[in-house]
Point group: C2
Chain length 167, copies 2
Amino acid sequence: MTDGLWDEILAANAAYAERFPYAGMEPLPGRRLAVVTCMDARIDPLQVFGLRVGDAKILRNAGGRASTDAIRSLAVAVHVLGVRRIALAQHTRCGMASRTAEEFQQLVGEATGADASFVDFMAIGPDQERCVRDDVARLRESPLLPESVDVAGFLYDVDDGRLRRLC
Amino acid sequence: MTDGLWDEILAANAAYAERFPYAGMEPLPGRRLAVVTCMDARIDPLQVFGLRVGDAKILRNAGGRASTDAIRSLAVAVHVLGVRRIALAQHTRCGMASRTAEEFQQLVGEATGADASFVDFMAIGPDQERCVRDDVARLRESPLLPESVDVAGFLYDVDDGRLRRLC
């Protein structure tokens, strides 16, 4: 697939580097915050949360889930990089809430010919507010994250830009 | 911890929602692209890659690794949401390249009192270019992602803003 997208990206990046304003910035996030949210293309976490480059660690996966990989990443963020607060934000009209785990397994299995029955797709299920609360509880109870870390759960509406705190 | 950060975020978000420009945007990423990169606070993937909201799925974890969770997310991105290209970008001065896996286990274990020896922290190791190539290979060879998906590997320099293609 050589439609020039990589070249386009490198050209846009060269222009960005010409006016790069963040030289020498240190890795500790200024607001000691980590945000866990969905990979969804409609979400720009910095804009949604009113943050600037350098303010926060941003973690993203399908659904905005407190996955094992998110917890690995958050353990590093907290114990190495000074994070003291975690915001987990899922969103409305999420693809991960549109199908069951079994439907994802079947769909990916049929598309690839591979056995996808062993994959936990972390489908959100019909009650998304409950999913946010469960994921926040998973972070609060994780033995890899200290109790002193402040964890909050949000639902983001992709149609009006509004963030609602759930827990 | 009640220092008002959540209130500040909700106030900033309310201002964002007042001028929200993305109502009704559909979830299929306009450029059929997914970007996998690090959670690092210094990286704004949209600016680095010259993208706009709606163009790409953005996945982020500690290191910008092709983790099992990233592959779960990418399988959904490809088979449900039309993604045809994946860019994996790690970056210079990454915290995940500063320690060995064993050092992360020890550090988190000592900080929490928990047994962290079972956690794979996915440390990048001393040869980061090799890590990028290995992660790209993992995506290219994943049975959950079709061979037709175009995967490219990059290293991003957090000190000059430049993205370099490695593979």
